[in-house]
Amino acid sequence: MVGCACGGADLGEPRAGGNPQTTLPHYRFNEQTERRAEVAANDPSMLLALSEWHLDAAKVAYPQIASALPLLMSSWRLPVDPDAEGALEKDAFAWLFARSVLCSEDMLFLQAVDAAGAGAVTEWADKSPLAAALAPAYNGEKVDREVVLDQSVRLMRQAQAAMVVLSGGEAGHHRPFALFVRLGVLRAGMRMADKAGQYRDAGILRLEALERMEGGKGSVQRDPAFALSVAAWDVNNRSPLRPEDILHNLIPDFPALGAARTPLEALHLRLNRNAAPSTPVH
C-alpha cells in the first residue's frame, strides 16, 4: 500500500472514490532574468507515486481483483515489474469489456512480445486471436505494416460477422465493438514493430490506431491512456501539436491530465523559437 510521502508531501491513504492529496504544479520558481517571470514545473517521480496511489485505491475498492490485476495491468507494467502469469478466471472476463484484447491469451501474447520480441507471434498464433491475425504480417525479421493494416480490417469484419451469427441479425452495437477488435490488431502490430526496431512503421500503426479510436461523437473506443501514450511518443519526437490537441480534448473528462500541460507548452515554446518561419495562410 502506498500512503506515500513523496518529495516531502503526504499523498494520504489510498481510498476508493478519493484523490491523492497533492497540488499541481509541484514547483514554481522564477527565471533568472530581470523580469523574473514565474515558471511552473512538475516532478515525474511524483506523478509515478500518484499512479501507484490510484492503483492501491483500486485494490481497496475491489480486493477480489488483486490476483488478476498483474495480467489485466500488463499493458501498463513498468520494465521493473515482473511478468504476469497464468490466465484469467472466467469470472474475470468482464474486465476485458471495452478493451482492445479479445481474451487473456491476447494479453499473454502481448507480454511475450514485450519480453521476447516480434517473433513471439509465431508461438502464439494458435492460442491468441491477435497473434493469429498478425502472423501473416511477420516474415521472421520484419513486420509488414500494410499487412497489419489489412489484417486489422479483416479481423474486424470477421468479428462483426460472428456477432451477426450469434445475435441472429445485425445490431447497431456490432460495429462499435468490432472497432475494438481492429484497434487490438493495430496496437498489437504496433508493439511488434516497436520490438522489431521499426520505429517509423510502429509510429504509423500508432497513429492509425489513434485515428480509428477517435470515432466522433462520444466514441466508446476512446482510450485516454493510449491517447496519452501517443502524445508522449510525439513529445519524444519533439512534436507538440498533436499532443496539445490530445490533451486538450481529454482534460475536460480527466482534469488530472492538466499536469502534462505545463511541460508540453514549454516544449512547444522552445521549438517555436527555432522553427522555420511561416506566416498565416488562408
Binding site: 489489412d150 479481423l155 470477421q158 511561416s278
Partner: protein, 518 residues
C-alpha cells in the same frame, strides 16, 4: 471457444494488386492561386507546391525527424553564423537541367531581393544575410545572427535559377502556372484543374503516375463522387459528411493536422465601425452557438465536437491561448443595443443609423468556406439584419481573396475567413500596424507594443506572456470577431495505401502513396 477458433483460423492474406500507372483524382478547396512557392497565399497553394518542389529541409510526417532529400552534408560554420551545404548529385529539374548550388543561392538571393514581393520571403529576410556558391554542389548560407539550430529554420523551397532572368521575381510570371521544380511531380495549372505528372528523379520514386487536382464545389456532390470512385480523395471533408464517411468500408477518414481558426474581420476604417463599442456590439450580436449548429451541424452539448469557440487569435489547445478570456457562445442583444447607443448610434425604424445615415454592412466571405460551413455568410447576414443592420453579402473567390481582400484593397466592411498555421503561430502580420496581412489596416499602439514584445522576447515565458496579453487586448478591441477552430479531416478511398499525411504540408510523403486494386 467457438469465436476464438474462428479467429485463429484467419488464414493467409489475399494481397491486392499494386496498380501501376495509377492516377489519383482529388477535390481541393479551390484551385491554387500560384504554384510558385514564393507566392503561396493559400493552404491549397502550399499543398500543391509540396508536390512540385523540394524544401531544403523538412520534418518527417511520422517521426518529426528533420530530413532532406537534396542535401547530402551540412556543417555549421563561422561560429554559428553560417551553414555550409553540400547538395546531392544527380538531381535534375523537371526540364532535365541539373540542380546545383547556383540554384540554392539564387533562391536565397531572390528571397532577399526587395523586388520580389513575397510575404514568404520576407520572413526569411529577417535572419538570412546571403549565400555564396563554393563549388558546383556546395554553398554557404550566412545569417544575420548566430542560429542555434539552423537546419530547422531552412524550410524554404528551392527554385531553378535558369528559369528566371533576375532575382527580382514577379508573381505574374508564367512560372506561377507552369513551374519547374525538383519535386516528385511536375505541375501545370489549367482552367479547371491542375495536373501533376510523375517525374522520375534520383531522390524521388513515386508509385502514383499522375495526380489531378479538381476544385471541390457542392459538398454532397464531392461525397457522392468519392463514393462512386470517380475521385479518390477529398482534402477537406465537410463536417456534416464525416459521420457517413466514417461508417463507410470504402473510404477512410484521416486527420490533417492543421491549426485553423475562423474569424470575421472588421473594417476599422469604416467610420461606423471605428468605435470599439460598435465592434463589441457586433460580437454580442453574432450567436456562435446558432451559427455552429445551423452551418456545421454541431448541436449544443455535443461531445467531441470538431468545432470549438475561441476568444482570441489562437486555438484553445495552443500555449498562447489565454484561458482567462472567455468565449462568447451566445448573443446578448440587450447589451449589444446598449453598446451601440453609447457609441452614438441611433435606431430609426428598426435600423441602426450613424447620424442620419442608415448603416449598410458589406460582408464578404471566402467562397470555399461554404463547403465546411454551409450558408455561414447568409446566417451571419441574417443575425446582423435581425439586429438592425442592413447588409449586402457576397462570396469571394480565391484569387480575389488573395489579391484584394488580404492585401487590403477591398471595400468590404466585414469579411469572414480562416487562417491556418503550422507549428509557428505568429500572428504579428495580422494585427501589427505594418503587418503584411493586416486586412483592414488595423492599428493600435498597445497591440503593436505587445507584438514587438513577442518579437523581442528573450525567454519563452516572455513570448508566451506577450501573446497572452495580446489575446486579452484583441478580445477587447475586436479588430476581428473570433469565431472558432474547426478540425480538418481528409477522406481517401481505401485502395489508396501508404497515404501518410504530413501536418500542414500534406503531400511531403507522396512517394509512399500507392493504389492497390483489391
Amino acid at each position: 471457444m467457438e469465436l476464438r477458433r474462428t479467429f485463429l483460423a484467419l488464414g493467409g492474406l489475399a494481397m491486392g494488386v499494386l496498380g501501376t500507372g495509377a492516377t489519383l483524382n482529388y477535390f481541393e478547396e479551390s484551385l491554387p492561386t500560384s504554384l510558385n512557392p514564393l507566392f503561396g497565399e493559400t493552404m491549397v497553394d502550399s499543398r500543391a507546391q509540396e508536390l512540385v518542389f523540394d524544401r531544403l529541409w523538412y520534418n518527417d510526417a511520422v517521426t518529426n525527424e528533420l530530413k532532406s532529400r537534396i542535401v547530402s552534408r551540412h556543417e555549421v560554420a563561422e561560429a554559428g553564423r553560417a551553414i555550409k551545404i553540400t547538395l546531392k548529385e544527380g538531381i535534375t529539374w523537371h526540364d532535365g537541367t541539373a540542380m546545383t548550388s547556383k540554384d540554392l543561392c539564387f533562391t536565397v538571393k531572390a528571397m532577399l531581393d526587395s523586388g520580389t514581393p513575397s510575404v514568404v520571403a520576407a520572413a526569411y529576410q529577417e535572419f538570412i544575410a546571403g549565400c555564396e556558391t563554393q563549388g558546383a554542389n556546395q554553398a554557404l548560407i550566412r545569417f544575420r545572427k548566430v542560429l542555434p539550430k539552423p537546419r530547422a529554420r531552412l524550410g524554404f523551397h528551392i527554385l531553378p535559377a535558369h528559369q528566371f532572368d533576375s532575382t527580382a521575381i514577379s508573381p505574374d510570371l508564367e512560372f506561377s502556372a507552369r513551374p519547374t521544380g525538383t519535386g516528385a511531380f511536375k505541375g501545370a495549372r489549367a482552367r479547371r484543374e491542375v495536373i501533376f505528372d510523375q517525374y522520375s528523379n534520383s531522390h524521388h520514386s513515386p508509385s502514383v503516375m499522375q495526380l489531378q487536382l479538381r476544385e471541390g464545389g457542392d459538398p454532397l456532390l464531392q461525397i457522392r463522387t468519392l463514393e462512386g470512385g470517380e475521385v479518390q480523395g477529398i482534402i477537406v471533408v465537410p463536417p456534416g459528411s464525416r459521420a457517413d464517411l466514417r461508417a463507410s468500408d470504402e473510404v477512410t477518414l484521416k486527420s490533417y493536422d492543421l491549426r485553423s481558426w475562423w474569424f470575421v474581420a472588421v473594417n476599422t476604417s469604416n467610420p461606423a465601425l471605428q468605435d470599439k463599442r460598435v465592434r463589441q456590439a457586433l460580437n454580442l450580436i453574432i450567436d456562435r452557438t446558432e451559427l455552429r449548429e445551423y452551418t456545421i451541424g454541431v448541436k449544443p452539448g455535443d461531445r467531441n465536437s470538431p468545432c470549438e469557440f475561441i476568444s482570441g487569435p489562437f486555438v484553445q489547445s495552443s500555449p498562447y491561448y489565454n484561458r482567462t478570456v472567455p468565449t462568447v457562445p451566445s448573443a446578448n442583444r440587450a447589451k449589444a443595443d446598449q453598446l451601440l447607443k453609447s457609441a452614438g448610434l441611433t435606431r430609426v425604424g428598426g435600423r441602426w443609423h450613424v447620424g442620419d445615415q442608415p448603416i449598410t454592412l458589406k460582408i464578404g466571405m471566402q467562397s470555399n468556406l461554404n463547403n465546411e460551413a454551409t450558408d455561414l455568410l447568409e446566417q451571419v447576414g441574417n443575425q446582423l439584419g435581425d439586429a438592425g443592420f442592413d447588409r449586402q453579402t457576397s462570396k469571394v473567390g480565391a484569387d480575389e481573396w488573395s489579391q484584394e481582400v488580404v492585401s487590403g484593397q477591398s471595400d468590404f466592411d466585414l469579411v469572414i475567413g480562416k487562417w491556418s498555421f503550422g507549428l509557428v503561430e505568429a500572428v504579428n502580420d495580422l494585427f501589427h500596424t505594418n503587418g503584411r496581412k493586416n486586412i483592414f489596416g488595423y492599428s493600435d499602439s498597445a497591440v503593436d507594443e505587445l507584438l514587438n514584445a513577442y518579437e523581442d522576447a528573450v525567454t519563452d515565458t516572455d513570448q508566451k506572456d506577450a501573446y497572452h496579453k495580446l489575446h486579452a487586448r484583441l478580445a477587447d478591441e475586436l479588430p476581428y470577431l473570433f469565431l472558432w477552430k474547426l478540425d480538418t479531416k481528409s477522406a481517401w478511398r481505401t485502395e489508396v495505401r501508404g497515404n501518410v499525411i504530413t501536418p500542414y504540408f500534406y503531400f511531403t510523403e507522396i512517394d509512399s502513396w500507392k493504389v492497390v486494386e483489391d
